[in-house]
């Protein structure tokens, strides 16, 4: 019996912080995006591979990349198409701008309500913010179960997913009902290379806004009327609906107080459980160290 799954991969275009030079930060302490090439967030690549493996096994499945950002972030969707995805959606709107993880996960969860996937996969965290919050928050907002730190999606049936998790002190195999959100760890299989035929097929894929950009004039040799699959979908706040005030700046309670260089001194790690007492202790410690305030 052939199974069909709809899989949404959450991907983010990030500045490549792995090769940071002297000019990586502006004097104001923000990231100097001009000095850092924009790349596909590495762990999102691992997530994409897991999604494509489900499609390899069940070819009738559909894989879509969902990303939010300025229109140049459509590059992430093209990278997906080059590797075998069926399409992608770019959430792009001034009203999305300035979002912290809360507002971002709200926007993404709204889009996912519309896409109705069986599975959402995302990288564990992005290399620019390193928060690891967006995936879990999306699951919370959708009321879905979540499996974090996944190394491999081992099995998938109509209503269940089995995942191997990479933890600090070993591995764990867990099963969840579907729908489910999975965040994927860097130790998972690396993503497959771009496929030559897909690259040739989709190299002129673009969003409507990219097409309007004067910098791209003459770049797209083939029109989207002739080949409609070259059109990448853009969604705005109006397309995903929901509460206007939960998007962008308005929906972002996070305020950056200060940016400073830190040197890790601690040699030992400390384990907190999810008990109320431990959480109180952790918050107390962070407050005392002025890590949060």
């Amino acid at each position: 019996m052939s199974k069909e799954f709809t899989i949404v991969v959450l991907a983010k275009q990030v500045p490549d912080t792995r090769n940071v030079g002297k000019d990586a930060m502006t004097p104001e302490g923000t990231v100097n995006r001009a000095a850092l090439p924009a790349i596909f967030n590495p762990e999102d690549m691992n997530a994409l591979e897991q999604a494509l493996r489900i499609k390899d096994k069940y070819p009738a499945s559909k894989v879509y990349i969902l990303t939010m950002g300025p229109f140049r972030a459509a590059e992430v969707i093209r990278e997906g198409l080059y590797r075998g995805t069926d399409g992608g959606i770019l959430l792009t709107d001034r009203r999305f701008a300035g979002a912290d993880t809360l507002a971002t996960s709200y926007a993404i969860s709204q889009a996912c309500r519309k896409l109705k996937p069986h599975i959402i996969v995302a990288g564990r965290q992005a290399i620019d913010g390193d928060t690891a919050q967006v995936g879990p928050q999306v699951a919370e907002k959708l009321g879905w179960p979540q499996i974090t730190y996944a190394e491999e999606i081992q099995e998938i049936t109509e209503d269940k997913i089995t995942v191997l998790r990479r933890l600090e002190r070993g591995i764990e195999v867990v099963t969840s009902t579907l729908p489910c959100l999975v965040t994927v760890h860097a130790t998972a299989a690396p993503c497959r290379p771009r496929n030559a035929k897909n690259v040739m097929k989709y190299k002129y894929a673009r969003t409507a806004n990219e097409e309007k950009d004067p910098a791209n004039e003459g770049k797209y040799l083939i029109s989207t009327e002739e080949k409609p699959y070259l059109q990448i979908t853009e969604w705005t706040v109006d397309d995903v609906g929901g509460d206007e005030n939960s998007y962008g700046f308005a929906g972002s309670p996070t305020k950056v107080k200060k940016v400073q260089n830190i040197v890790f001194k601690a040699k030992e790690s400390k384990v907190f459980t999810s008990s109320e007492a431990d959480i109180d202790e952790l918050i107390g410690e962070l407050l005392a160290n002025h890590e949060i305030g």
Binding site: N19, P193, N195, A196, V199, M200, L221, I222
Partner: protein
């Protein structure tokens, strides 16, 4: 995060060559595949952009995956067990990456799931892969066999085998036997036709077969009883799934460890005839061999590039006498010459590939309802001749240069280079085979000497000479004084051409044995002049090649002058008998 295509501007430059327009036009034949295949190009710009983008994919796989696996593959090598070969783990990963990237079958037409690319990007891919791991370069390069099937086999065989290439079916060409190496006319593996079963069966032994446990094999075998020469040999295709071939052992080689070299036993192995009987060696193998030689050219350039980069990096990092060693003239002189040899080999490689492209693409246009026009026939003949002229000098010089560069790369590393810790020792071992297989340098001379004696090389050189030197504005802007340098180089080449003519004149009317004796020197003289001119042509369009043109032309002057004097000082009668004297030493060796 390395990309072997993007970190090397010499490569993209190849796509700007003026002949590319003609090549793509012929390959795409009016862009008739556009609309039929979603990955077919719309026009020239689209096609060249696709070449560029696919090279980026291969460059990334070469840089990030194949190069990273090369050291371990060299240590592990393939394993032979129960008559079957298993690749080293790293080789399997390389294979998986290139198969997933969909780049196998790069030169095959789209109807066989290929990319329909011309030889230039195909050869470039071979260069990229070989720079990362020369041994793996062989496994990649053997898809050449698909070209032979495409050119000569029946439609039925094409449909059966060719679509499998893109999915990653590996190939081998099974020619050599214990008693048939350079002399393939001596091939004895027997092919017999079984009337009852309606099939050919192969029996015998093959040796030194690269990738011998491949999925698809092309086998040269004796189909005609009571024959002993080339005219009794036919060409067969064999599918591993049919059974009947086992690997007796794999060779323990000096280098290219990733590439399994097999001894094979054929026991009633079923096979299908490719093309016509009796034409196996005479036509099909000869055609395959030229492709394979171009492949070794690409492999040699890849190794040269790797050796040059390792040497350059080390010279910049190593300090002695409180200075980086690259600051010492003795070291940077070596690096300059290495780069000149590398760029001259590359210029020759792609010029040869373009010539092959034009005539092959023209021939591919021919169908029952489409004949070539007289002009097209002339064009095909001309480029076919150029390809035949350039292939042996490419194979000979690029392989010798890559050995010299690997040697110098170790020298620049000093004692460290002799240790296993640095990749140069592997490059040195890998390089060594390139002057040997697919026809030794000595056999390339046999193929090339006719163009010395019949004046074809001279004619080609005179053609270069007749072209007016026109240095582009971009080159002058990027490299002030380039024009003067290139004019001086050209003047030197004109003088060296006269010297070459004189040397040929001293030999050409002598007995055959004497011509063979001096052949290598004469072929090299012609080759070095031609390669200097190819660099000179590229230098007029890009400043990337100006320095190497100057250095290579100067080296040509000294190499050719040495050869000229050697020939001039040779007395045919005395010389041949002098060299025959080595035979006397045999009496000493075999005294007991």
């Amino acid at each position: 995060m390395a990309n072997f295509y993007k970190d090397n501007a010499d490569l993209k430059f190849q796509f700007s060559n003026s002949l590319m327009e003609r090549i793509v036009e012929l390959k795409e034949d009016g862009y008739k595949d556009y609309g039929k295949y979603d990955y077919a190009p719309k026009d020239l710009k689209d096609a060249l952009d696709s070449y560029d983008k696919v090279m980026e994919i291969i460059g990334e796989i070469a840089g990030d995956i194949i190069a990273a696996n090369a050291e371990q593959v060299d240590i592990d090598g393939p394993v032979c067990k129960d008559g079957r070969v298993t690749y080293a783990a790293g080789t399997q990963k390389n294979q998986e990456a290139l198969i997933n990237a969909g780049v196998y079958g790069i030169a095959l037409p789209r109807k066989y799931d290929g990319l329909n690319f011309s030889m230039v990007p195909y050869v470039m891919a071979a260069e990229l892969v070989s720079r990362a791991d020369a041994g793996y370069g062989n496994i990649w390069g053997l898809q050449d066999c698909a070209e032979t099937i495409y050119e000569f086999a029946s439609e039925e065989i094409k449909n059966e085998f060719l679509p499998r290439i893109n999915k990653g079916a590996s190939c081998s060409m099974d020619l050599t036997e214990p008693d048939a190496g350079s002399d393939l006319q001596a091939v004895a593996l027997k092919a017999t036709y079984d009337q009852e079963k309606g099939s050919w069966f192969l029996n015998g032994v093959k040796r030194f077969i690269t990738n011998g446990d491949a999925d698809i094999k092309l086998v040269l075998a004796r189909s005609e009883e009571d024959t002993s020469d080339a005219r009794g040999l036919s060409y067969f295709v064999y599918d591993k799934n049919w059974g009947g071939v086992t690997v007796r052992r794999i060779e323990n080689k000096l280098g290219i460890h990733g590439s399994p070299t097999c001894e094979l036993v054929f026991r009633n192995a079923p096979a299908k005839l490719v093309g016509e009987r009796r034409l196996g060696l005479i036509r099909y193998v000869m055609s395959l061999m030229n492709g394979a030689r171009l492949g070794v050219g690409a492999q040699s350039v890849g190794i040269s590039e790797a050796a040059y980069r390792e040497a350059l990096k080390y010279a910049n990092e190593r300090e002695q006498f409180k200075k980086k060693i690259i600051e010492f003239p003795a070291v940077y002189e070596m690096l300059g010459v290495m780069k000149a040899k590398l760029q001259a080999s590359r210029a020759t490689l792609y010029e040869t590939a373009r010539c092959v492209d034009v005539y092959k693409a023209l021939n591919a246009l021919v169908t029952p309802d489409r004949k070539l026009t007289p002009d097209e026939r002339k064009e095909a003949k001309l480029y076919s001749k150029y390809a035949d002229m350039l292939t042996p000098i490419l194979k000979m010089t690029a392989s010798e240069f890559c050995n010299q560069n690997a040697y110098d790369a170790i020298q620049i590393h000093g004692g460290s280079g002799y240790m296993k810790e640095y990749p140069v020792e592997r490059l040195y071992r890998d390089a060594r085979i390139t002057t040997i297989y697919e026809g030794t340098s000595q056999l390339q001379t046999v193929a090339a000497i006719r163009y010395v004696t019949n004046g074809s090389y001279l004619e080609m050189i005179k053609g270069f000479e007749a072209q007016e030197l026109k240095v582009s504005e971009e080159v002058e802007a990027a490299y002030p004084g380039a024009t003067e340098k290139l004019q001086a180089a050209k003047a030197k080449l004109v003088a060296l051409t006269a010297q070459y003519e004189e040397a040929v004149g001293m030999v050409v009317d002598k007995e055959e044995e004497y011509i063979d004796f001096q052949a290598r020197k004469l072929c090299e003289m012609a080759a070095f002049i031609i390669e200097s001119y190819l660099l000179l042509l590229d230098s007029q369009k890009s400043a990337l090649f100006v320095d190497s043109t100057e250095i290579f032309t100067n080296k040509t002057e000294s190499w050719n002058t040495e050869r000229y004097h050697y020939i001039k000082n040779s007395n045919p009668q005395v010389l041949l008998s002098t060299f025959k004297n080595v035979k006397k030493d045999l009496e000493i060796i075999y005294k007991d």
